[in-house]
Amino acid sequence: MSRHGLARVREALRILGFAAVFAVAAFVTNVLVLGFYILAFGSLDDGAPNVASAEIERLSEALVLEEGTYRLPDEDIEALAALGAWLMLIDPEGNVAWSEAVPADVPDHYELGDVASFTRWYLNDYPVVTRVRDDGILVLGSPPGSAWKYTYSIDMNSFVLSVGLVLALLISNMVVAIAVARAYARRSWAERDRARREWIAAVSHDVRTPLAVALAEADTLAHDEDLASDQRARAQRVEGKVSEVASLIADLNVANRLSYAMEPVDAQPVALAPLIRSVAAEALNDDADGTHPIELELDAEAEACRVNGDAVLLRRMLSNLVGNSVRHNAQGCTVRISLARLPRRLLRRERCLLAVEDDGRGLASDMLQTLRRAPSDELPEHGLGLVIVRRIAAACGGTTRFSEAEGGGTRCEVILPVA
């Protein structure tokens, strides 16, 4: 069988399993509800006089008194004979006034007690039904064992309670059904998420090796002294673009890890100031023409500031913020990074404010809108880097705010709880 076929069989078996679990759960619930009902409202078995069936009603109409003699049409007599049934009329005094095919063991006189008994149960083992007429009681008997005589009656109170019981059962079964369906859906969602996550991880893994080759080759050309300077510059541009793709892949991986929350953030106290210096130094080292100076504002309090988080992720957050300012302002801009402790508020953990600001051309308004909306699981079509900033901040228990800087550039504030 193909792998696909096997998977379908497995899925079908799993659904069957869930259905069985549901049925058992529903049954157990029903029994419990029934038990509760009986305990709370008492027995439902509260007998009342039987109501004659349609058949005896018809026979009663057919049996007429003509000139002092009772007569039943011939076809009814034949029908009775075919069924092995019999019919008799008992007058108000208890004597049999008329009968048809009555067996020998059926008496021809009845007391009140006899009547009360057979109307409800059996007459000498014959299941009987009765019909009260002006001239007495018509009794229709069937052969012994041909019918299970069963009287069902219900008083109005029980009837209302029964309707309530049915509704209660219905609702409780629905609750069980929803619980089972949710459990099933959650499991299959978790599986789908895992499959998606693994797929992204696999793709990015496969992309990284060729990227490593491209980066190494471009770097080799960019530093090849035998090449003309414009060719080296071209190779450098290729290197830069490959690095951008590499950075995107890294962002995608981080988003992948954070959005499906499969991997809890490996939180440890991380000193932010050295991380800020390191990211800033890296950015300045890569800024060969010096068009993107970086200013730091770190006071002694900020130096000692540690937050709970993953150093790799926090570094990614910082370099995304700085990288965003640099990339969106190719003509040049000053990036200002500041870190400060926020005044402590009552019953709140101490927090620090990390702000990265530039005096460049600012974010497009639609991007600002996207970043201001509540975080969702959907990745935007562009601007992945800043969305990841927000995700990382959230994973470390913090919040972000993107706004326009006073001079018209971009300002991002990240508020993180201090470790």
């Binding site: 496969d206 990284r208 090796t209 890294a250 490996d266 050295p274 210096r277 390191s278 080292n285």
Partner: protein, 234 residues
């Protein structure tokens, strides 16, 4: 080993293009003995006969993975290893396994970053067996073997161990900013709380190597960040 460039380096990578370019890169850097293996079996065979001094290990290999390879190598040898991985998760896994790799590089990597890390690992493992290097600062030269500063007028002076450590670290990333945290780590082994002490040592270092220490030409301050050793103008 007198010179780290004499080290035998084994590159274990199944992608022929990457393996080729990495070997070429290492060779161009001056490492004379570089070999490559594409499978765990090849690598183990090569390890038994050739005795490499440094392993560069890819994680996913056709007949196994780099972690298992490292584990079996570790049973007999403490040879340093740098893991080349294409997955972010591998670092956590590596830590979890406690296999003691010496460094970890995520693909794709910048070639010079890989080379820097290689030389750092080799130097750390085999001592300062690096060929004596000299740092030229205009008319002044510093011999990083002996820590001796020779000025244009012939006068000379010796660097203290801390000054030496600072200059050595700056020289290894010449032209690039090295943060105060990193400098403190190479001097004291810990990056935290040495800001003022570092400033003092840098000032003394400048007095030894700069013509005008209050207006430094070589050891440039990157304000708030760290220091940079200026490149010589070609």
């Amino acid at each position: 080993m007198r010179d780290i460039h004499e080290a035998h380096i084994l590159v274990v990578e199944d992608d022929p293009a990457l393996s080729g370019v990495v070997c070429e890169l290492i060779g161009r850097e001056g490492y004379r003995a570089v070999r490559s293996a594409a499978t765990v079996a090849d690598a183990l065979a090569c390890f038994a006969t050739w005795r490499p001094d440094l392993l560069l290990l890819d994680v996913m290999l056709p007949d196994g993975n780099g972690f298992d390879l490292l584990r079996s190598v570790r049973q007999t040898s403490q040879v340093p290893a740098i893991i080349l991985s294409a997955r972010d998760e591998d670092e956590a896994r590596l830590r979890g396994l406690g296999l003691g790799a010496d460094d970890y590089v995520t693909k794709p990597f910048l070639p010079r970053e890989l080379l820097l890390r290689m030389s750092a690992v080799l130097r750390r493992t085999y001592g300062a067996g690096d060929a004596p290097r000299t740092v030229r600062l205009g008319a002044t030269t510093v011999d990083l073997g002996s820590g001796e500063v020779v000025r244009a007028d012939g006068s000379s002076e010796t660097l203290t161990s801390k000054e030496y450590a600072i200059l050595d670290r700056l020289a290894r990333s010449r032209g690039r900013i090295v943060t105060t945290d990193e400098l403190a780590r190479s001097v004291w082994g810990d990056g935290y709380g040495y800001g003022n002490a570092l400033m003092v040592h840098v000032r003394r270092l400048r007095e030894k190597v700069e013509e005008d220490p209050s207006n430094p030409r070589w050891i440039i301050t990157a304000r708030g960040l760290g220091y940079r050793l200026a490149k010589e103008e070609a």
